[in-house]
C-alpha cells in the first residue's frame, strides 16, 4: 500500500516535470530569457526586492514596446540569500535549464563567484550594486555592472574631506570589504592633500560597545571623523563618540544615508555637523526624471536605492539583443559596449529600437547616468554629499563623474 502511494507520487511528479519541461521548450520559441538573481531573503533582502522590481519594470516597458528582435523578454527570478554557493547553483539552473542569455542582479560576493561560470557558458552577468574592487580586475568580458566601483566612493569622500578644509581627520572603518576598500582610497587622498590622519581604526561589527576603539580617536580630538560602518555599528559608534565628548564633524558612508539614523542617534547630535557620501544618480538628468515619473506611476512610490541602475540593466540588455547578430549571451557581449557608448543618444528602449531599425548607432543614456563601460565593465559614478539639517538629509554637493578625471 505504502509503496504503491510512493510509486504513484513519483509517477505524478515525473509527469508534472515533463509537462513543465515541455512548456518551457514550447515557450522558448518566441521568447528570450533573462535570469534575475537577487537576495530576496537575508541581510540584503530589501535591496534585492528593489532591484528585482526595477528590472521587472524595465522588462515590462521593453515588452510593451513590442519586445526585442529575439522575442518578448521572459524573466526567471531566484533568491540567493546573498550566498555565493546558492548563487552558482541558481545561475547554472537559469543558464542550462531555462536558457537565460543574461543573469542580472547578483550582489558582490555572488557576482565574483559567477565570473568563471559567465565566461565559460558565454552568458552576460550584470549587477546594479556590486561595487566590489575584485571586479575591477575580473570584470569586462561578459561581466558588467551599472554601478561604479567602491573605489569611487573613497575618491568622493577624500575629495570632500580635503575640500572642507579639515586639518586633522580620524577614520573608523568596519571590517568589511565594501567599507575597507573605499576607506583606503579616501586615506590615500587625505595623505596627498596633506591632511593629518590622527587614527585609522578597523573595527569588527556586532560589538555591544566600541569604547575601546574610540579611546585613542577621541584623545586626538580630530576635526572630523570619517565613519564607514553599517547601520547597527554606526549608530553605536556615533552615540558613544558623542557621549565621549566629540565635538567635531562627521562624514558617513552610504549605509548611514537613511532617515532612520536621526531617530536612532538623536537628530540634535547630527544636525549641521554630520555629512554623508553615497553613489547617486544625477537627479537633474532628464533620463532620471523620466524614470522617476514612470516608477511612481507604476509603483506609487519613490524609486529605492539602485532602482535606476537596475532599470538600466534591463534596457541595456534589451537594446543589445536588438542589435546583436545572435540571440545569445555571446551576441550581447559583442555589442553591449557599443550600445552604452558612442552614437545617437537614446534614453528608452522604444527610442533605441527605432534608431537601430534605422541603421544608426545608439548610445543608451541611463536613468542612473552615462553608462560607458571602462575596461573592467564598470561605468564612472557620480556622488552626492548630504548634510544633516533639521533631522533630514539635504543635498549640499554633487560630484559628477567628470569631477574625478
Amino acid at each position: 500500500m505504502k509503496t504503491q502511494t510512493i510509486r504513484s507520487m513519483l509517477l505524478k511528479s515525473t509527469l508534472l516535470a515533463g509537462t513543465f519541461a515541455a512548456s518551457t521548450l514550447a515557450a522558448s520559441a518566441q521568447e528570450v530569457t533573462i535570469g534575475v538573481l537577487v537576495p530576496l531573503t537575508g541581510e540584503l533582502g530589501e535591496f534585492g526586492k528593489i532591484v528585482a522590481g526595477a528590472v521587472e519594470l524595465g522588462v515590462a516597458e521593453v515588452n510593451a514596446a513590442g519586445g526585442t528582435k529575439c522575442g518578448m523578454i521572459r524573466t526567471v527570478v531566484a533568491d540567493t540569500g546573498g550566498n555565493p554557493e546558492v548563487g552558482i547553483r541558481e545561475a547554472t539552473k537559469m543558464i542550462e535549464s531555462e536558457g537565460a542569455v543574461a543573469v542580472v542582479g547578483p550582489t558582490s560576493g555572488v557576482m565574483v563567484a559567477l565570473v568563471d561560470l559567465a565566461k565559460r557558458t558565454k552568458t552576460v552577468i550584470m549587477s546594479p550594486y556590486a561595487g566590489t574592487i575584485t571586479l575591477n580586475e575580473l570584470g569586462g568580458d561578459y561581466v558588467y555592472r551599472t554601478v561604479s566601483s567602491d573605489l569611487g566612493d573613497g575618491a568622493a569622500s577624500g575629495l570632500w574631506l580635503s575640500e572642507k578644509g579639515y586639518k586633522r581627520v580620524a577614520m573608523l572603518v568596519q571590517n568589511e570589504e565594501s567599507t575597507i576598500s573605499p576607506a583606503q582610497v579616501a586615506k590615500d587622498k587625505l595623505a596627498a592633500s596633506g591632511i593629518e590622519l590622527t587614527d585609522y581604526v578597523i573595527y569588527n561589527p556586532g560589538q555591544p560597545s566600541y569604547q575601546a576603539e574610540l579611546v585613542s580617536v577621541l584623545a586626538n580630538a580630530p576635526d572630523a571623523i570619517y565613519l564607514a560602518g553599517g547601520q547597527e555599528s554606526g549608530v553605536t559608534v556615533i552615540k558613544e563618540a558623542t557621549a565621549g565628548g566629540f565635538e567635531g564633524e562627521w562624514l558617513f558612508t552610504a549605509d548611514l544615508a537613511v532617515p532612520e539614523i536621526f531617530d536612532a542617534v538623536g537628530a540634535q547630535y547630527l544636525n549641521d555637523r554630520a555629512f554623508v557620501e553615497f553613489a547617486d544618480a544625477d537627479s537633474s538628468l532628464p533620463e532620471y526624471k523620466a524614470f522617476d515619473a514612470l516608477y511612481q506611476e507604476k509603483n506609487g512610490a519613490e524609486p529605492g536605492p539602485f532602482a535606476a541602475n537596475s532599470f538600466d540593466m534591463a534596457n541595456l540588455i534589451a537594446l543589445s539583443l536588438e542589435k546583436a547578430d545572435a540571440c545569445t549571451g555571446e551576441g550581447i557581449n559583442a555589442v553591449i559596449r557599443d550600445i552604452a557608448d558612442g552614437g545617437e543618444a537614446v534614453s528608452s528602449f522604444a527610442a533605441g529600437k527605432e534608431a537601430i531599425a534605422a541603421g544608426k548607432d545608439v548610445n543608451y543614456e541611463g536613468a542612473s547616468g552615462p553608462l560607458a563601460f571602462d575596461a573592467s565593465g564598470t561605468p564612472a559614478g557620480s556622488y552626492s554629499i548630504q548634510q544633516a539639517k533639521d533631522g533630514k538629509w539635504e543635498n549640499v554637493k554633487f560630484y559628477p563623474a567628470s569631477a574625478f578625471e
Partner: protein, 308 residues
C-alpha cells in the same frame, strides 16, 4: 525544470557534502566524538587549495602567498592542511568528552573563521580569493558539470570504501570497543587516547579534499562560505540518514540536497512568486524534518536492506 540538470546538481553537491557526513559519521557514530567544527576542516582544505593554486598577489590583493601551483598540488595540500588542523585541534582537546568536546571544536571553528576574516594576509580577509584556478575537463571532452559531479561522486565513493575497509578491520572493532566502553577497552590494552586521535585525524583528510573540490566548483573561497551553517547542514544530514551506517549518511545528505534543489527547480517568472517560494522553503524544510525524524525512512530503508 531540467531533470538532467537537477540530477547533476544533486550528485555534485550531494556527493561533496556526503564526504563530510561520512567523516562525521566516522568521528561521531563510530568514534564517539562530537565534532561541531566540521566546517573548519572544510575551510582549511579550500583555502589551502586556493593558496597553492592562486597566482602571486597583484594590484589590490592583500594576501601574501600565492604559489600558482598545479591543481593536483593544491588538492594534496588541501588534505594535508585539513589533517594538520585536525592534529592541531585534536591534540589538546580529545581528552574532553561529549558536549565539552562539541563546544571546544565549535570554538576552534569560530576561531579559524575569525582568523580568516581578520588576517587579510591569508586570503584577502572578507574579500576572499576569487577566480580560483581549476582543471579544465574540456580537454577530456567532458562538460564541466558532468566532470565535477563525477569527481565529487568518485571522492565520495573513495571515502566510503576506505572508511568501510577501515571499520571492517580489527582496527575498526577497536574503535567500536573504545566508543562502547572505554574502561573495558583500556583493560584489554587499547591505547584509547591514541585511537581517538587517529580517528579524528584520519577522518579530517577527506574533508580537506572535499574542501578543495568545493573551491574548484565555486571558484571562490571567502569566509562567508564557511560559516557554522555548513556544520549544521552536515549534522542534519547525518541525523536524517540515521547514524552508524555509511549508506545512511550518504542517503541523508543526498535527500537534503535533493530536497533543496527540488524546491528551487521550478522557475519563477515574477518577483512575488520567488519571494513567496523563498519564504515557503524554510517552512516546508521544517515540516519535512519533523516528518523524517518521526518516521526515519532512511534508517528504516538501510536496515531493511541489511536484513534482506
Amino acid at each position: 525544470m531540467n531533470l538532467v540538470q537537477l540530477f547533476l546538481a544533486v550528485v555534485m553537491f550531494g556527493s561533496l557534502f556526503s564526504v563530510l557526513t561520512l567523516s562525521l559519521n566516522l568521528q561521531y557514530a563510530r568514534g564517539g566524538m562530537i565534532n561541531f567544527g566540521t566546517v573548519a576542516y572544510f575551510a582549511a582544505g579550500a583555502y589551502a587549495y586556493a593558496i597553492v593554486t592562486q597566482e602571486p598577489p597583484s594590484g589590490l590583493d592583500q594576501y601574501l602567498v600565492g604559489l600558482h601551483g598545479p591543481w593536483w598540488a593544491g588538492f594534496l595540500a588541501a588534505g594535508v592542511a585539513s589533517m594538520a588542523f585536525a592534529v592541531l585541534t585534536g591534540w589538546p582537546t580529545l581528552r574532553l568528552r561529549g558536549e565539552y568536546l562539541a563546544l571546544t571544536t565549535f570554538a576552534f571553528a569560530e576561531m579559524l573563521h575569525s582568523l580568516l576574516v581578520n588576517e587579510r594576509r591569508i586570503g584577502n580577509g572578507t574579500v576572499g580569493l576569487a577566480n580560483v584556478e581549476r582543471p579544465d575537463p574540456g580537454s577530456l571532452g567532458l562538460p564541466d558539470a558532468w566532470a565535477y559531479a563525477g569527481a565529487a561522486f568518485l571522492l565520495m565513493l573513495a571515502t566510503a570504501l576506505v572508511f568501510r575497509r577501515l571499520l571492517a578491520s580489527p582496527y575498526g572493532r577497536a574503535i567500536d570497543a573504545v566508543r562502547d566502553d572505554e574502561t573495558a577497552a583500556e583493560a584489554i590494552g587499547k591505547d584509547i587516547a591514541r585511537l581517538r586521535f587517529e580517528v579524528f585525524v584520519i577522518s579530517a583528510v577527506p574533508i580537506g579534499f572535499a574542501g578543495a573540490l568545493y573551491a574548484m566548483i565555486t571558484t571562490l573561497v571567502s569566509p562567508d562560505l564557511f560559516t557554522a551553517e555548513v556544520t549544521f547542514f552536515v549534522w542534519i544530514a547525518l541525523v536524517l540518514g540515521g547514524e552508524r551506517t555509511i549508506l545512511g549518511a550518504v542517503l541523508g545528505t543526498m535527500a537534503l540536497v535533493g530536497f533543496q534543489e527540488l524546491v528551487r527547480a521550478f522557475p519563477f517568472e515574477s518577483v512575488r512568486a520567488a519571494e513567496i517560494a523563498a519564504a515557503g522553503e524554510d517552512i516546508v524544510t521544517g515540516i519535512l524534518f519533523i516528518l523524517i525524524l518521526r518516521w526515519q525512512p532512511f534508517e528504516a530503508m538501510v536496515k531493511r536492506r541489511a536484513a534482506a
